[in-house]
């Protein structure tokens, strides 16, 4: 592809101020197709604000984001109309929340949750919607017999996998993840990470993942951004940053991680 070397998403000078308080300041980054970018830092460092800005859930005080749409045209995300923005959000993008209840409709069956995006983009054949939902449940290792069960009857790990299936059904090119493994026990985390690695590899997904867990960042991401007090203080290849941190704060962060 001729556009292969062009960034999928480019953020320039992103700043978000909450009154006099700082959300994040002057963040610039490029994200390429198929690339996994981890944003790490302690709580309050601005990583969630950054994620919300990138996912257009918040408007920045300054700065802008450009995105290469499916048709190859690069658009300014904050100049999109609301209808276009919503369409982008549920076709070309995904968002996996830490709390599955934010990403799922808890009163709607697993199949309905997966099918929602398809119906929103105009699918009107029950059989095909259900077929697609079954296919995706199997891919995220949820027993297909549970398709008509409510997510409230699912375990934490299953809910996260269902959330991923719900997002993946429209074959997005970019998925945002906010602490997707938070609150899960270690063996469940490992399976989820395996699943996400597989999806990234198979579908050439670009991912922005916010985590405070350096082990997750190391397993999943190609590149790493370290944030502190709303600013990016270090950035580089994941292995390079974690094995040979340059900034004193990053060194502290790495040495504080129990699993090293």
């Amino acid at each position: 592809m001729s556009a292969g070397e062009e960034a999928l998403l480019t953020a320039a000078g992103l700043t978000k101020l909450y009154g006099a308080r700082i959300g994040c300041v002057d963040v610039s980054l490029d994200l390429y197709a198929g690339e996994v970018l981890a944003v790490v830092g302690e709580s309050g460092s601005g990583k969630s604000t950054l994620l919300s800005l990138l996912a257009t859930q918040l408007r920045p005080t300054h700065g802008r984001i450009r995105y290469r749409m499916r048709d190859g045209v690069v658009r300014d995300l904050f100049a999109l109309g609301e209808a276009e923005r919503r369409f982008l959000l549920r076709t070309d993008w995904g968002f996996v929340h830490q709390d599955a209840r934010l990403g799922l409709r808890m009163g709607v069956s697993a199949g309905g949750n997966v099918g929602e995006r398809l119906m929103a983009v105009g699918w009107r054949n029950y059989g095909s919607i259900r077929g697609e939902a079954l296919d995706w449940l199997a891919r995220v290792e949820i027993e297909t017999g549970r398709i008509d069960d409510l997510p409230t009857t699912f375990s934490g790990g299953m809910r996260q996998r269902l959330q991923i299936a719900k997002n993946m059904v429209t074959a997005p090119r970019l998925v945002f993840m906010d602490e997707p493994t938070g609150g899960l026990d270690v063996s469940v985390q490992a399976r989820l990470l395996d699943l996400m690695r597989g999806l990234v590899a198979d579908h050439g997904l670009a991912v922005v993942i916010v985590t405070h867990d350096l082990a997750v960042a190391r397993l999943l991401s190609h590149r790493l951004i370290v944030m502190r007090h709303g600013r990016v203080i270090e950035t580089g290849l994941t292995d390079q940053v974690l094995d040979d941190p340059r900034e004193p704060y990053t060194q502290l962060l790495v040495s504080a991680d129990l699993r090293g």
Binding site: A83, R105, V108, M119, A120, R124, N125, Y126, R130, D148
Partner: protein, 289 residues
């Protein structure tokens, strides 16, 4: 009127009626769109048709002939009291015959006899927002209407099929108006949905508590939502009306004794009565009209 207190024509003051008529005109101009209006206190509790009564009061003229039905019947409490209310406060002629009425106020049914040009049917609406139980935020449902963002409504129908094997929604079955606005047809049985499509009568919907008015001008396209492989189907009854023998009407189940006795009869009392008067003994033959 019995001396002493006298009301303005049709109870509401003229300025209120003008305001409501403006909302009605806007609603007619944008079929299926919910227009906010300043709902007045009426001498009846919310849930008893305050929206419909205000719409009727605003469009009623001295020469109108009014019919009021509740679940198809002219002789139930709600229907009788609203009919008497307008007979007293407006002095208009009332009727139980669908064809004689110029305005028909209804709770949850459309008469079986086809409506004609020049007639107006006024629906009492409890909850005008079809997306309400899927999305509780009014700010969000307004956005969804503005953006024609209606995928969620199909999720509801999907859930029906997944759970029951068919679309089990039997009343308040959502419709698309002129391929633009998603509309709640009020809690009419889905049996009546096809009657809304291309109806020659003007259809007005009033929700008093929720302060919304919406409308379908005559000859508006009204399509019930469905899936390609689970198309919309009108309710069918296995037996004919036990009184008039009609096979193409909406039936009510009536319990007749304490030992499980029951019968199914037309919900539209005027239609049923009319058939029995026109052809006595018809039930024995059980023939179609």
């Amino acid at each position: 009127m019995t001396g002493g207190v006298s009301y303005n024509f049709a109870y509401l003051d003229e300025q209120s009626k003008r305001t409501i008529r403006r909302a009605i005109l806007k609603a007619i101009a944008i079929p299926g769109y919910q227009v906010p209006f300043p709902s007045r206190e009426m001498p009846m509790p919310y849930g008893w048709g305050t929206g419909g009564v205000q719409v009727t009061a605003s469009i009623l003229g001295p020469h109108d002939v009014l019919k009021v039905i509740d679940q198809g019947a002219d002789d139930t409490t709600n229907a009788v009291s609203i009919r008497q209310f307008f007979a007293r406060t407006a002095g208009v002629r009332t009727t139980t015959h669908t064809s004689e009425a110029s305005i028909i106020q209804t709770r949850h049914r459309i008469p079986e006899a086809p409506l004609a040009e020049g007639q107006i049917i006024v629906y009492q609406v409890p909850i005008p927002e079809p997306l309400r139980f899927l999305e509780p935020r009014e700010s969000e449902t307004r956005q969804m209407h503005a953006l024609e963002d209606y995928g969620l409504m199909h999720v509801k129908l999907y859930e029906d099929i997944a759970r029951h094997g068919h679309i089990a929604t039997a009343y308040a079955y959502p419709v698309m108006v002129e391929a633009r606005y998603l509309m709640d047809p009020s809690p009419t049985p889905k049996f009546d949905n096809p009657k809304m499509h291309m109806s020659p009568a003007l259809q007005l919907f009033g929700a008093g508590r929720e302060q919304r008015i919406y409308a379908l001008p005559p000859y508006t396209r009204v399509v019930s939502l469905d899936f390609d492989d689970h198309p919309f189907a009108r309710t069918r009854f296995e037996q004919p009306c036990a009184l008039c023998g009609a096979r193409d009407t909406y039936l009510d189940e009536v319990v007749t004794d304490d030992s499980g006795g029951r019968m199914f009869v037309c919900s539209d009392t005027d239609y049923c009565q009319g058939r029995r008067t026109a052809a006595p003994g018809r039930e024995a033959h059980d023939e179609r009209r």
